[in-house]
Amino acid sequence: MNHERKLGFWLGALAALHVVIACAGFFAPYDPTVQNRERPYAPPQRLHWTDAQGKFHLLRPFVYAIRVKEGTFDEYKQDLSRPVHLRFLVLGARYKLLGMFPCRLHLFSTDGSPVFLMGSDAYGRDLYSRTLYGGQISVLAGLLAAGLALILGWTLGAAAGFFGGWADTLLMRTGELFLALPWLYLLFAARAFLPLSLSPWRTFFLIVVLVGAVGWARPARLIRGVVLSVRGRDYVRAARGFGATNFYLLRNHVLPETWSVMFTQAAILVPQYILAEVTLSFLGLGVAEPVPSWGNLLASLQQYNVLTSYWWMCLPGVAMVPFFLGYLVLTSALQQKANASKI
């Protein structure tokens, strides 16, 4: 029961994180590609609740307006006389909710001067909005790639385990080939031999397909083990004796047994594949500007001067940590549950 509750809690927390990312348009105040050329590298602005007179604004937190200092291009000064209030649930930039429904409602926004909760980048784009939108790309890439790897892995692993014989040998030997390769290198190499400059969306799907196709071997191996043990059980043999078809056996007896392995693998693979996308994009082999992804948001830190002067450019990296934490705890909860059910 304790495991169940823990699992439920972390599933809920992870789901909440995914909802925030999925509805990035609503939670982000601005469009991720809108530039404010007069405000490059603005530092994160602090939210205030009490103003200079000591008055407390519970429902209307504000930031102080910032201005570029005379004679510099990236040093800012707060204008303490000009509070910019956040306004909640307001209409702003157009976006598509979940990529489908045109919408203008934002959780918060400001009148007039933009507010940068996580600072702004070289073109004065809001890093907070970009991080949320970037999460869409990275997390979606992780989910889709993991889905692809699991579907491929299940099909091949189940086929190998169920039918046995030369198909089994061939599939598992090929799987070993994929497992033997250094994973990131394989990804690199495959990416190396594909066109470099593509539109962001085509690169995105390319990455998803690549990562998924490279990653099928491990789930396939595990599924094959489960299928092998299921195939030999008495009730399955009895069903076969009663004339059940292969398809029936696979669907009704094999598939349910593999669910727990599939879930655990998903919890392991998704963060790994998110990281794969981040790595590729960070190195400039993935989704390209101006479309944000967690990887290419961090890419500017490869320049020494960005790293030294603008620490907030690291923040998109920090945003990944809760996701990985959620998946890690989910994995261990699933594994504990699997162990508990065994005993």
Binding site: E176, L184, A189, P195, T279, F282, L283, L307, F324, L328
Partner: protein
């Protein structure tokens, strides 16, 4: 010995498979190294096609593979277009730099992980164990990339460590002692990141393996007999728990060349990582294939070494799969 030979044959087959696979991938690729020249106005089309013919890019894939195998036999590993020289010397010098980074990192990580893991397994559920588990979980969820960037940031702010590269500007004029000191200073940051990123996985595996053994009857009996703690833990428990750890050690050795790929790029360490990235961007096909193959050789021989070690260390395996 039969068993070891069989594993060896398996490894060789695997390498051949990988090389064929990378050639197949490379043939699927649109574009090649000379495509950019074609766009240039200063280089005539005839020159480009002459170059293509010279480097055999127009020949069929099977021919190129056979040709490449020949150059592997000569120890060249193909020809790099961008550097206009055989690939092997390039790869060797860069691989050496990668090893300079990875060998100490792997050693330190294992030397730290063994006592920490065993300690944590012994005090399972108590404060030290909980602390170790929490810290390793924290390290596990922080991506290496972020860790590297964070440490770089600290280095930039404090000016204690150099922030990238392998040697300082005036390296050639330094004395031997100074040179060593310089390289070690440059290594400090990347090695720290590598140790921190591999430590949690190692600690977790060691802890799980040893904790399983500590609950077995023979160790409780050893305790009842009054055999001292250190001897129980390091001589009996560790030995009994060695099998999964040997496999893990083989894997650690296998990733010596591929484990620091991204870190090298971030910290501009002149290892295989940046070389491979440049090669990919320039479509320097043979260099990429060479790099992939070299790191696969390491991975495969790491696994092979683990198999051999297991065979040597565990009489059960010898009895099971041996010549008898």
């Amino acid at each position: 010995m039969n068993y070891v030979l069989r594993r060896f044959g398996h490894a060789v087959l695997l390498l051949i498979g990988v090389s064929i696979l990378s050639f197949l991938f490379s043939s699927l690729a649109p574009g090649n190294y000379f495509d950019e020249m074609r766009l240039s106005a200063q280089i005539s089309q005839e020159t480009v096609s002459a170059l293509r013919t010279h480097y055999n890019l127009d020949r069929p894939l099977a021919w190129r593979y056979a040709h490449w195998l020949g150059s592997v036999a000569r120890g060249d590993l193909g020809f790099s277009f961008a550097y206009n020289m055989p690939t092997a010397p390039l790869l060797w010098s860069r691989a050496r730099n990668t090893l300079v980074l990875m060998v100490p990192a792997t050693l330190i990580a294992w030397l730290l992980a063994l006592p920490i893991g065993i300690w944590s397994a012994e005090r399972r559920g108590k404060l030290p164990d909980v602390t170790v588990t929490l810290v390793s979980a924290a390290l596990l969820v922080i991506p290496d990339l972020l860790l590297a960037l964070g440490l770089l940031l600290v280095a930039v702010r404090t000016h204690i460590f150099p922030t990238g590269g392998m040697v300082s500007v005036g390296y050639r004029d330094l004395s031997w002692g100074r040179r060593l000191q310089d390289v070690v200073l440059h290594m400090a940051l990347p090695v720290t990141v590598l140790v921190l990123s591999s430590l949690p996985t190692l600690v977790r595996h060691i802890r799980a393996a040893v904790a399983d053994e500590l609950e077995t009857g023979f160790l409780r009996a050893a305790r009842a007999h009054g055999i001292p703690r250190r001897m129980r833990l390091y001589r009996y428990a560790l030995r009994a728990a060695a099998n999964p750890l040997i496999a893990l050690f083989g894997f650690s050795l296998g990733t010596l060349l591929s484990g620091s790929l991204m870190l090298e790029v971030v910290m501009s360490w002149p290892g295989l990582g940046p070389l491979l990235l440049e090669a990919i961007l320039a479509r320097d096909v043979y260099l990429v294939i060479g790099g992939v193959l070299l790191s696969t050789v390491f991975l495969v021989s790491g696994n092979l070494l683990a198999d051999v070690l297991l065979y040597w260390a565990d009489p059960r395996i010898r009895a099971e799969r041996g010549p008898a």
